[in-house]
């Protein structure tokens, strides 16, 4: 059924911290690896070792540069993982003519039933986030499953029941949990850090949230080397006697 379920109380999703993502692509690689071999696999590439490798990835890490509005402020580089946001009101589900695309009533995960999909690609046109990719090899649409075959997997230890991308992140920039529950760790994190939606004006109400980069320690303002030296105030009172003596000698 491609009609959307009544608003779900449980809203499983990801919280992605753009402040600490280092752009290592470990999440994307772990996702690809798990989904190549997991219960929903394989996730094959069309030409993995050819001249123009092409294949389906559920997670893509972009890098953006921000040129600040005020002068003399330093530019920022932000690494930006992009994957399915498991929207509350997604058009990718309602446009599906076959019922292959659906949103689960019990936890809000958006999935594709690959045995029903006819590969018309309309759902990928309906998604503004580029979450759905078409597999030439399988002739169907594929997308992030939120590792539904891991998060409920009772053969896993409790600690491992989370999406592969979250488990793989070396800086803990990715968090998984129930964003429908105000008291969950992810909801608290979103409230505390001002987590936001991507393209809120499109009206799809994404469940996944992004945490904004914190202001840089220098307040975002860069300074030239000469003025930096002049303005630097160093407190040597707590330094070791040797450093204090060197400072004294060099300051003459």
């Amino acid at each position: 059924m491609t009609m959307l379920p009544a608003p779900t109380t449980k809203k499983l999703g990801l919280v992605i911290d753009l402040d600490i993502c280092v752009g290592c692509h470990a999440c994307a690689v772990a996702c690809k690896e798990w989904n190549d071999g997991g219960q929903f696999g394989p996730l094959p590439d069309e030409s993995p070792y050819g001249k123009e490798p092409l294949g389906v990835w559920f997670n893509r890490v972009h890098s953006f540069e921000i040129e600040p509005a005020q002068k003399n402020a330093s530019a920022m580089t932000v690494h930006f993982p992009r994957s399915c946001l498991h929207c509350e009101t997604p058009d990718c589900v309602t446009v599906c003519p076959t019922g292959a695309s659906y949103k689960r009533a019990e936890d809000g995960i958006v999935l594709v039933d690959e045995d029903k999909c006819i590969g018309c690609k309309l759902c990928s046109w309906a998604c503004p986030y580029g979450a759905r990719e078409y597999s030439e090899q399988r002739g169907v649409m594929q997308k992030c499953t939120l590792c539904v075959d891991r998060i409920y997997n009772e053969s896993f230890d409790e600690i491992d029941r989370q999406p592969a991308c979250v488990a793989a992140c070396p800086t803990r920039a990715r968090h998984f949990g129930d964003l429908g529950n105000e008291n969950s760790a992810v909801s608290k994190l979103v409230a505390q850090r001002g987590g936001y939606d991507l393209m809120p004006e499109m009206g799809y109400k994404p469940v996944n949230k992004y945490l904004p980069p914190r202001p840089r320690r220098d307040g975002g303002s860069s300074t030239t080397s000469s003025s930096a030296a002049a303005e630097e105030k160093m407190d040597f009172s707590t330094a070791s006697p040797l450093l204090r003596w060197i400072d004294k000698v060099l300051s003459r």
Binding site: T2, I66, T98, G99, S124, Y134, G139, L198, P213, G220
Partner: protein, 322 residues
């Protein structure tokens, strides 16, 4: 958007087919005995054949065409599904009309079937248009010009072929009474209306910004101007191939002029010359039908190729807004 030939063929051919069936039903509704039976049967078969050919073509771009029957199931939410249902349902009145011609039934059943076919033909083409017009992600499609465009262009395609066939059947091409006006005048009127509608559509899409920006797509606009410095992948992927098609935009202006020429001045000139000379009507009508059809193919190719998808914001360096 990548212009898939199968989809272009489908929308143009089935649009023309339903336009033809719509006009034929209109004639049958108003004057069931106006056209000779052989002509009605031929035109019905032709219209049905065009819509079948279009439907078959549309399955060529599917990854799993053998499952296409599943597309009839989700008519409650999906315009694509509704289109499949309406297109298939329209074969019922076509069949009824064919049987009515065979059995030489009274005018009443013919009129009822003709009315049903008119409605279903219009609904089918409207559903086709809504498949595109319902996508909020594509500004060139999500607007009020798209549905009238599909309906009008289907009608002009159908009208031009109806005229051409009618002239081939009836030497000298006398007017078919459509109310008080002749079919040739209807074609000329539709040509002008189509050209004007396309002009308005292009003017609209040229002035409309994308429904989002790279700043809102990343949520980083609060810090300043955002641009992509590195894409997630060095080669193309499905998204950049399907949504990032930019070839047509280079030639858009020239292609638009070709569409206008083929949709209005050329067919109108052919028909007016034939009307003034009172001869060679079948040649002029056939020429007009070919010009209009070719114009529809170019128009539909542009409809896809010119459309920008909002997801390309994530890939666009600054200045190149998707």
């Amino acid at each position: 958007m990548h212009p898939a030939l199968s989809v272009i063929f489908f929308t143009v051919i089935s649009g023309c087919g339903y336009g033809l069936l719509f006009l034929l039903s209109l004639i049958l509704l108003m004057q069931p005995a106006l056209l000779p039976r052989s002509e009605i049967v031929t035109l019905l078969a032709l219209g049905a054949l065009a819509s079948v050919a279009g439907l078959i073509a549309s399955t060529f771009h599917l990854g799993q065409p053998q499952r296409a029957w599943r597309a009839f199931s989700q008519w409650r939410s999906s315009w694509l599904s509704r289109e499949g249902v309406a297109a298939t349902a329209s074969f019922l009145p076509v069949g009824a009309l064919l049987i009515a011609q065979w059995q030489q039934t009274d005018a009443m059943p013919v009129r009822i079937s003709a009315l049903a076919l008119m409605l279903l033909a219009a609904i089918t083409v409207y559903c086709t248009a809504q498949i595109y017009a319902s996508l909020k992600t594509i500004r060139a499609w999500h607007n009020v010009y798209v549905a009238p465009g599909y309906l009008l262009l289907g009608l002009i395609g159908g009208a031009s072929w109806l005229l051409a066939w009618h002239c081939a059947f009836d030497d000298g091409c006398p007017d078919i009474a459509l109310g008080s006006r002749g079919l040739d005048w209807l074609v000329i009127l539709l040509c002008i209306a189509s050209a004007l509608l396309k002009l308005a559509y292009w003017r609209y899409i040229d002035t409309q910004p994308l429904p989002a920006s790279i700043e809102s797509a990343t949520g980083l606009g609060r810090y300043g101007a955002v641009r992509s410095v590195e894409a997630p992948h060095s080669e193309e992927n499905y998204l950049t191939r399907e949504m990032g098609f930019a070839l047509a935009r280079k030639h858009a202006a020239r292609l638009r002029r070709i569409v206008l020429l083929l949709l209005a001045p050329l067919p109108i000139a052919l028909l007016v010359i034939a009307m003034l000379m009172r001869s060679n009507a079948e040649v002029a009508a056939l020429g007009a039908a070919f010009a209009v059809t070719l114009g529809l193919f170019v128009e539909r190719w542009l409809f896809f190729a010119e459309a920008k998808h909002v997801v390309m914001l994530y890939y666009a360096p600054r200045g190149e807004r998707a």
